[in-house]
């Protein structure tokens, strides 16, 4: 027999006989509940969502890409109870940057959920790691550890100085190599609840 959510099940309190005694008074302690009501008693599992996004390289500061062309571009995300894990990879073949005179721009990738730390410090940044190549400092690769509003950016480790310093990748680093800028990485953070 198929069981429907609206079907009723008799529930008998402890010390009440399971046998139907015939009268309402005698049957006190015997209730009928629906299958749905029993299901509702079971705690819900973790909220899970996964899907795709298209990583887009943007520039922080007074400027932007006038044009940009990608040869590789993929992004995947999963969310478990508001913990977002994002993986991405892009490879760029060419770009044109327009900017204000003297402006220094920082490239970053927009994430599929807003990264809330800058706006709401109570939402913690958990982890970020990335890789880049063909910037001007090719021997000091690093990346992805800097996360600002809505995106993840990169830095490189200067070979000079003691201790060596982390400095951001800027538009001038991008311009050093006219072709093939590749970044990939993973970011984990707490999603800002709407």
């Amino acid at each position: 027999m198929a069981v429907n959510l609206t079907d009723k099940i008799h529930v008998v309190r402890d010390d009440i006989p399971t046998k139907n005694l015939g009268s309402a008074l005698s049957n006190s302690g015997r209730d009928a509940v629906s299958v749905q009501e029993i299901i509702d008693l079971v705690p819900s599992g973790a909220s899970i969502e996964s899907g795709f996004f298209t990583p887009e390289l943007s520039l922080s500061g007074q400027g932007s890409f006038s044009s940009i062309n990608y040869s590789t571009r993929w992004g995947y995300y999963s969310v478990i109870n508001n913990i977002v894990t994002v993986s991405y990879s892009i490879k760029i073949t060419d770009w044109v940057i327009s900017k204000a005179p003297g402006a220094t721009l920082i490239p970053y990738i927009e994430l599929p959920f807003i990264f809330p730390t800058a706006l709401n410090p109570n939402y913690p940044y958990v982890h970020s790691i990335g890789y880049n190549r063909n910037i001007s400092q090719t021997n000091n690769l690093n990346g992805g550890e800097t996360v600002g509003n809505n995106g993840t950016a990169w830095s490189y480790r200067q070979s000079a100085g003691s201790p060596p310093q982390q400095v951001p990748i800027t538009d001038s680093d991008l311009s050093t190599y006219g072709a093939l800028f590749l970044v990939s990485g993973t970011v984990t953070y707490v999603r800002q609840t709407p």
Binding site: G51, L119, G148, A153, Q165
Partner: protein, 84 residues
């Protein structure tokens, strides 16, 4: 199967829109911020942006972006070493 679109408005964060598109069982997400050109948006996302993104809000978001850029630049700064 028709595409369904769900938009979350982050009211405490400059009315930034978090968009979920579902088509053929696949989820696709993106974020739309008030510095985006509304004319480049489509459908319900454009309608919501037109309603919520006032000129004052766009201006305030621009100021925030400038501050955020400065924060990013300073995040890497290491205090200069001295002999003291």
């Amino acid at each position: 199967m028709a595409k369904t679109i769900k938009v979350n408005v982050l009211k405490d964060s400059y009315n930034i829109l978090e968009v979920l598109e579902v088509e053929n069982g696949k989820n696709f997400r993106y974020v739309v911020t008030p510095d985006k050109d509304i004319d480049s948006l489509e459908g319900i996302v454009a309608d919501i942006a037109k309603e919520l993104w006032t000129e004052e809000l766009k201006e305030a978001y621009g100021v925030f972006l400038e501050a955020e850029h400065e924060r990013l630049m300073k995040q890497f700064e290491t205090p200069e070493e001295t002999n003291e």
